[in-house]
Symmetry: C2
Subunit: 156 residues, 2 copies
DNA sequence: CGGAATAGTTATGCCTGATAACTATTAAGA
DNA sequence: TCTTAATAGTTATCAGGCATAACTATTCCG
């Protein structure tokens, strides 16, 4: 006579059928996995998702201002300050003065910044290839297309 | 002779082609939109995403423990305490003692909790139908299937 | 010129998420 | 049985992400 398994080594399976009705739930769970993996990928470069994103945008858009960068990253200006501070202190970017507008900074990557960019982007692509290895190209394309459609539903 | 538009009313379009290479980037942007909309949807019920998720799981799994709930929500036990506290103070759930294990609580929804659950779930379904109106059923199914596949790539 | 708007900054607070350390209770092994 | 390990829940604490208000310096505009 087997005694009931009270040990919670393998806890009872929880029913999340209601939550599974929601696409947002699936998006959150999936994104958590991607973000956790990306965080690990960026750790050797001492970059977080936000500092990485900012570095990429500065390298690809030399001379952009902090306001433009904040808007591109969909974060508020005050929150960008600390990010730019960190990149500047690490000498990955510089804040150059704009001659025609002494309020604004022109953000530009240094050589070290561009080198870190190359390494981090390469590692990130490898990370995504690994994580999405089981998903066909056509499916990936449809996924991206659908995600962009959702993004553009924005109810601002 | 049109003068160059220096006004940043419509800021220069920033090039994010590199970031667009990453599925995770598209996921984050899309999820931000969904989350913002859901937050607005839940606001009239005084629920946040986490309190809402916890309430749904407790209603659907009466008697589950805080440890099980934390695991189902993929958060640490200490962070769940405040969530359960809030739901309990609002008398949406109760912490019942488990006779066979005096360490654990059996979480159960009250009638008020179940009623709020009904309203919030109904509103959430309407929110998703509105947000995903432009996406065909077949596409939604494929989206969910792909997201679940990504979630299961988890590199724990 | 003078008020409005903009760029950047500082201070501050809320929410999410993680860890360490603790109490109470239960399980497990000598 | 007795000791030790493990578990459930809690507290304290910290870091990160994100938002707003208020401020300075500068530029725009009527």
């Amino acid at each position: 006579m087997a005694k009931p398994d009270k040990s919670n080594v393998l806890p009872v399976k929880i029913n999340d059928d209601t939550l599974r009705l929601f696409i947002g739930y699936h998006m959150k769970r999936a994104f958590n996995v991607v973000q956790a993996d990306l965080t690990q990928t960026l750790k050797p470069f001492d970059l977080r998702m936000l500092t990485y994103t900012a570095l990429v945008l500065i390298v690809d858009n030399p001379g952009l201002s902090q306001s433009q960068l904040a808007q591109a990253m969909s974060i508020e200006r005050p929150n960008l300050v600390v990010i730019v501070d960190e990149l500047e202190h690490r000498e990955l970017i510089v804040r150059e003065r704009v001659p025609t507008d002494r309020r604004a900074y022109a953000l530009k990557a240094t050589l070290a910044g561009r080198r870190l960019y190359e390494k981090a982007v390469t590692a990130s692509i490898a990370h995504e290839n690994r994580l999405f290895a089981g998903i066909h190209d056509a499916t990936r394309a449809m996924l991206v297309e659908t995600l962009d459609k959702i993004r553009n539903q924005e109810t601002t």
